[in-house]
Symmetry: C2
Subunit: 453 residues, 2 copies
């Protein structure tokens, strides 16, 4: 937390405790909604929270409300009377209302819908029907639409009139009388144009759009590729139904990265922040893969049980090292490819380029690690264990082979997963470990037994 | 790739090959710079590339140029004559020029600086001096500044005049005559205000700023928290020196997530896309941790060599399973905490809350996995190996203890790393594996030898 923010929080707490509500309001008007929300949640107890919230200047209440955690939002909604709830909802953009509704239990949802105007209720219900990860689920309905035959001057009048209730005014969409999207323009272009120019003459007719059912990850990718502030969402007929703004895209990018990281670490993804998750829900997100991987490890135990008696104790001591090296090498490849797929750098058609590249890298990496392995065993491990040079050559050789094998498995699995439309991060990371573990063990045992007496 | 984009690429290729340059220009004017850049790189050979680039409408050349890979940029700069280079540079924003310069060899940098105006050269040199990961390194100098005593009407005149060369006009910064940042306003607010209003009366005086030396990750975090389109960058005296725009923040968020993912997978991060990296540079990014972890695995070999003779072959067969379970469990915790730190959800002061939470989760997870482990050994492993119920109890018991231990190590390490200002992702993930491997092995061997005959 910055010093400035700490000072603000101290001042808010002081004004609140000493009941200097006029000073409090002045301080609040200057503060950012996100900061006020985090002050409410971290510095006040339950009763104080709702009391404090009611002190907020009217124009800030909704902005602060959407920044609160869903648990706090639920508590607040239960404490609100109908008038208060309506006031908060009226100032909110539709996509925020929908985000809140998605986290609430049924009885709270009913209250929210009852407090909305019939028109809003219709829009909310429509938005709620889009699949969870679609563009439709993150779009907002509050955009500026213009018609092509008005002048720039008219456009500014319209923006002034409807602008206050729109999530962004800077990108304006031009639609025909059947709501087909025909062009786009920006306030910058409007400002630089002549007042008498027709919108139809200055608008850009080649518009990048997303469809309502498009994956929101894809939408976020378009923002990072094209540097837009907003993207129009169109239905199958090419009619404009909403827009996605860059701030929502930023959230999607953050969330998707977090989810991919969780999946790679064998965790079922959760959208809730760590400290807000219950012990039970953390348990639920961690147990499936742990159990699956435990059961899968039966294969390594089987291989070891079968070969172990023929393996000298000297060689057995290096099993964890070899499995570790293969696992790490495979992990490097699979994670690299998973991420490259996630940020649209590579796709299935690159599979042969990727395999060739990983194969070359694998030989280089395998050889280097193999040499280090040989030297390490000669110089370090020989200090506490007697290892013959033949044994060392077998161990180091297996190290090279396992690394090459692991890197191949690591790069092929995510691409195959993508091809059969599974999430590369889910399938490839934990599955890769199991396959690489078993294969490296089989390679080790069979080579060692075949070569060494 | 979408169908629309494929159609565009086909059309561009057709016009180019059949030398229909007039049609080509028309098609290009409608296309996005990012798409044109990727067409040039993926569909044309080296000679065609520069020829195609020279056909671009003048107003698009710079926009397309900044979207190219640095290798292609370098080739192009070497092919440009001085006039061409100057034309491309003149239309570029300073932060983009600096991004390009940072990737170029010294002789190309010299040519770029020689082709810039003296004034630009000064700004470029100033920007180049900011540390690599600082706000200064990603800021742009082209912003709209206003003075507090002009009217809204004057402000619009100024925006119309200087707007075309600014990266964003939508957020305007109000500075006094010593360049101190005193307020901020937006074009939306200006549009909704009266033309005669003084800027000083409508501006927002509580401005969220970042300092030139602030970590760019921190800057990106502020964008995701506050939903801004731009953030002002101020020096130690509070003078406005530049702005960071949301599109740059989006890039930072993507890059930082990629880097964290790479670090967690024991790879030294690289900013280049996978397919553009040379075999040697991939080798360089992967070899250090592999070698370090290989050397660190000496400890597991030592422990195994010491205890192995007293360990029955039945028990040895479960070493990979136990180490795997502990490693996976620890990885879940460390990755969760590393990510929560990265997105500013938790900090060092939460250490005791986190430890308590992880401890409770660890007991639940450990017990559940332990029970599954016991059943699996009774029902599956007994099919191919004779395991007494006492041995099974020891193995399953050690599984529980190792998981609890691994989760504790996994949650404490990242927080400690953060405390001593090391990157949690670098230290915690690979180090965690080594510590957990050794500890779980020691726990297993010592308990088994103490309890079993």
């Amino acid at each position: 937390m910055t010093e400035k923010l700490e000072a603000l929080y101290e001042h808010l707490a002081f004004c609140f405790e000493s009941r200097k509500f006029a000073d409090l309001r002045i301080a609040l008007l200057d503060a950012e909604p996100a900061d006020i929300a985090s002050f409410i949640e971290n510095n006040l107890d339950d009763k104080e929270q709702i009391f404090f919230f009611r002190l907020l200047p009217k124009e800030q209440a909704s902005d602060v409300f959407i920044e609160l955690d869903s648990d706090t939002q639920e508590d607040f909604i239960r404490s609100f009377n109908d008038k208060e709830l309506k006031a908060v909802l009226d100032d909110m953009f539709m996509d925020d209302t929908v985000d809140i509704i998605e986290e609430m239990p049924a009885n709270v949802v009913k209250r929210i819908l009852r407090a909305s105007t019939p028109e809003d209720r219709k829009s909310i219900n429509a938005l709620l029907e889009y699949p969870e990860d679609s563009a439709g689920s993150i779009m907002t309905l509050e955009y500026v639409s213009l018609s092509a035959n008005i002048t720039v001057e008219d456009a500014f009048d319209r923006i002034r009139k409807i602008g206050p209730n729109k999530e962004t005014i800077y990108t304006c969409y031009i639609t025909d009388n059947k709501k087909h999207l025909v062009g786009v323009t920006t306030v910058k272009e409007l400002l630089l144009a002549n007042r008498a120019d027709k919108i139809g003459d200055i608008m850009d007719t080649s518009v990048i759009t997303v469809s309502t059912l498009e994956d929101k990850e894809n939408v976020a990718f378009k923002f990072s590729k094209y540097d837009f502030l907003a993207l129009p969402v169109v239905d199958k007929e090419g009619c404009l139904v909403g827009i996605v703004t860059v701030d929502d895209a930023v959230d999607v990018i953050q969330e998707e990265a977090t989810e991919d990281i969780q999946r790679m670490a064998a965790i079922l993804p959760s959208e809730k922040p760590y400290l807000k998750q219950s012990i039970f829900s953390i348990w639920k997100s961690r147990i499936p893969w742990l159990v699956l991987l435990l059961v899968a490890s039966t294969f390594t135990s089987m291989v070891l049980a079968r070969y172990e008696k023929s393996l000298s104790t000297v060689l057995t001591a290096f099993v964890p090292m070899l499995m570790g090296a293969a696992g790490n090498a495979g992990g490097q490849s699979s994670v690299t490819i998973i991420r490259a797929i996630a940020v649209n750098e590579i796709s299935f058609k690159d599979i042969f380029r990727v395999i060739l590249k990983e194969l070359l890298v694998a030989f280089l990496v395998g050889l280097s690690v193999g040499i280090v392995c040989f030297l390490k065993i000669q110089l370090i491990d020989n200090l506490y264990n007697e290892i013959s040079i033949y044994e060392n050559l077998v161990i180091s050789g297996v190290c090279v082979i396992s690394i090459v094998m692991a890197k191949l498995v690591g790069c092929i699995l995510p691409l195959l997963a993508k091809k059969i439309k599974l999430d590369p991060a889910v399938v490839a990371s934990p599955l890769m470990t199991t396959i690489v573990d078993v294969l490296s063990l089989i390679i080790y045992c069979s080579i060692a037994i075949a070569i060494l007496p």
